[in-house]
């Protein structure tokens, strides 16, 4: 149970305060309601590039990192297809520094040409390091556009191609800031050794004077219902074949999400999971195999990914995966197996409460879903799922005409 208080400033900024006096630290987490899905198809990778630029100095403060380090603080950020999230942890006695830094960059950035030039290079190196210079690193650049044809989930957070990053100009940066970075599009969570009164006072002082800006109205193309099986085979200089089967699934707030999330646990969480037990251990077809969902806000992707052993054909491997999926469609999950994955979910939630930062990030995300208290009802939602619900969702999702298969073949280099 994560307790919190909520208030909203006149400029529309939503603020949550989670007091935790067992730690001498405090955290300031800001979620901006913008991700790679909000990008122009010709300027992909921009939300993430922009996140880098948020550290290049703001209108009144030339350097972001140094003043924070000087008071014993640390910070970082991440961008996903859905959101961009920034966080600071620091000794609670110095929390005002976090308010000063975060409010100034919400007010306005410095928009430095030098920062843009350097961060373009840094992000291009990140692109190479994570997506191009790694075995299988480009899988997501290929799988996403196979699964999505209309919705902007068809490109990865890093962007479709390096050229989009090279082409970014300061005018784009300014326009993006104006559109997305204002109080109405942000959620602030303050946590740790700080009182509600103090948090209110500091929020009013530093964030209160920032102009409300315009509320961004999201209107994204809905991905049309997939009508036929899709398949692509690529080759790369990798040591082993790799097989991906992806399915469209409900979004984070849609009916069926919890069922599918539990299915990923049944299939792939822990050594007792079905895919590991059946396909790695018993039938000895794969060296490793995983199933997961991306937790996307809009209708998402459920992926089964495995590396078949060298003597196993792709066809055999694929059939074996389908056999497991068919079992979920044709048979009810036994009660004790369902209890098992629910227990795991419960303990994961309890253990995540050991981390102040995790609590703050979770509150921000659920507030974006409409109410931070949904976080405290998660366990309940999972517990309500029955074996019949799971079977029903499996039948909806695991259909050939809802699948995209990517076969990554090893080409000896």
């Amino acid at each position: 149970m994560v307790k919190f208080n909520r208030f909203v400033l006149d400029n529309g900024l939503r603020v949550l305060v989670h007091e935790d006096h067992t730690t001498p630290m405090a955290v300031l987490n800001i979620l901006y309601d913008v991700g790679a899905r909000d990008e122009d198809p010709d300027k992909t990778g921009f939300a993430h590039l922009f996140e880098h630029l948020m550290f290049g100095g703001s209108v009144n403060i030339p350097q972001y990192d140094a003043p924070l380090q000087r008071v014993g603080g640390e910070n970082n950020a991440f961008t996903s297809n859905d959101i961009t999230n920034y966080y600071i942890t620091l000794p609670a006695a110095n929390i005002e520094t976090a308010f000063w830094l975060e409010s100034d960059r919400m007010l306005s950035l410095a928009f430095s040409e030098k920062s843009l030039e350097v961060q373009r290079n840094v992000v291009i190196e990140e692109f190479k390091q994570r997506y191009l210079n790694q075995p299988y690193g480009d899988v997501w650049l290929k799988l996403r556009p196979l699964v999505y044809q209309k919705h902007p989930y068809r490109w990865a957070t890093i962007g479709k191609e390096i050229k989009h990053i090279e082409d970014a100009r300061i005018a784009d940066v300014k326009a993006f800031f104006k559109k997305h970075y204002n109080p109405q599009n942000a959620i602030v969570v303050i946590g740790g050794d700080i009182s509600l009164e103090k948090a209110k006072e500091l929020t009013e002082k530093w964030f209160g004077p920032i102009p409300a800006g315009e509320k961004y109205q999201r209107s994204l193309p809905r991905e049309p219902k997939q009508s036929g099986e899709r398949r692509e085979t690529v080759t790369g200089i990798v040591p082993l074949n790799d097989l991906y089967i992806a399915f469209h699934m409900p979004g984070r707030l849609e009916n069926g999400y919890y069922e599918i999330d539990l299915i990923s646990d049944i299939l792939s969480r822990g050594n007792s999971s079905r895919l590991h037990r059946t396909l790695v251990k018993d039938k000895q077809l794969f060296s490793e195999i995983h199933a997961y969902n991306m937790g996307s806000f809009d209708p998402g992707m459920f992926v089964v990914e495995g590396k078949p052993l060298e003597n196993v054909s792709i066809e055999t491997a694929e059939n074996a995966i389908w056999e497991e999926l068919e079992k979920l469609k044709n048979e009810l999950v036994p009660e004790n197996e369902l209890t098992k994955v629910k227990n795991k979910t419960e303990s994961t939630m309890v253990f995540s409460e050991m981390s102040l930062l995790d609590k703050a990030m979770n509150l921000a995300q659920f507030e974006l879903f409409g109410d931070a208290d949904l976080l405290n009802r998660e366990i309940e939602k999972y517990n309500e799922v029955s074996s019949a619900n799971i079977q029903f969702q499996a039948q909806q999702v695991f259909r050939k005409e809802n699948s995209s298969t990517l076969v990554y073949l090893a080409e000896q280099g």
Binding site: M25, Q69, N94, N133, K205, N271, R277, E288, V350, M354
Partner: protein, 426 residues
Amino acid sequence: MTPDRKTAPEFRDIENISLVRPERIQLDNGCKIFTFNSGDQDLVRIEWLFKNLRFNPAKPLLNVAVNTMLTEGTTRLSASQIADQVDFYGAFLQVDYGYDHSQVVLYTLTKHLSKTLLVLKELISDSVFPEKEIETFVRNQQQKLQVSLQKNDVLARRTFNKAIYGETIYGLGANFEDYKTLQRQDMIEHFRQMYQPANCTIIAAGKVDQSTLDQIVLHFGHEWTNYSVAADTSQPVLKPSTERVYLVEKPGALQSAIRMGLPLINRKHPDFPSFQVLNTILGGYFGSRLMANIREDKGYTYGIGSGLSSLDKGAAFFIASEVGADVCRAAVAEIEKEIVLLKTELVPESELSLVRNYMLGSLLGSLENIFSHADKFKNIYFAGLDYDYYERYTDAVKNITAEEILRLAQKYLDTEKFYRVIVGKY
């Protein structure tokens, strides 16, 4: 009310950092238990740590394979029964092989402790390494190895460690053939010698009340007996290579992995805390000189850092990065430049005070929960140090002078003696 946005708010220096110290219990069978009790949440983390046995170059994988396969079967339980029981109670079971120790870790809600402990007791005292599971393990590890060996950073780390530590447990980079040396009988013998009470330290953190403790003592006390042969935890002497430069060419590489450094002092050495300050300035945090120059000014890399890995029998200082293949030489030159600077010019006071506060804040922030306090204990306990290490550490961070940093840089950062590994293009 318009706040003054040009001036940083007042801040306070970090004064008191208090560490939770454990209760200690010594069992008759030689097993030591340390407990960190904090009743905030109804959960517990229990770690069983064992010193690795002496490295045998002819059978180099025994330490890692025995540890990894502890979950694969006991006299009474099959691998799948172990997995079922752990997973059913929502617990997390991890086996972690380390350079000095290997461990088994259990995370569980206390309401399920009695059930999950039973399984742990089985696998720690009675693992049997079934032949079929060994075959599966070897085959899957060999496949995973092929993937790792295509990663430039992995190759750079393996090459560097081999050069610095030689044919020892620290220098080991498993190859395909090594897996063929694994024999069930060797594994069983290794297991019996290593995983016995006299070679075990248990560290429990979380809600460790009397009932939790009683359960641990019940299963790992007199019911658990020592083997007839004592654990040989001595290790061969480290022998750094005489060859210092390694270039592994990868024709199509978009990036090159750089790893350079040299054998250095470990945590037991009096200079260790002060050297941490020097390391932080050079490459130990986001605002470090390497990051500021090579990432934030030149844009050559997504990340660069330096570190000091402290092991029981040795230590290494290293700088590591992956940089654009076309700027690899330039990046290496900039790294050299930053080291020369530290050896020739005093660190400005403003930078030093920033680093002091950053390091103290980081130490404070690393004490997030009771598990972190247990981790701090492990750092000193296994190095044979006491809590005054942390006093010396905070003392060094608060009081070290720029002159002392210069002296340390001159003494330790001898680039003539650096081992240099480049994987990719140079």
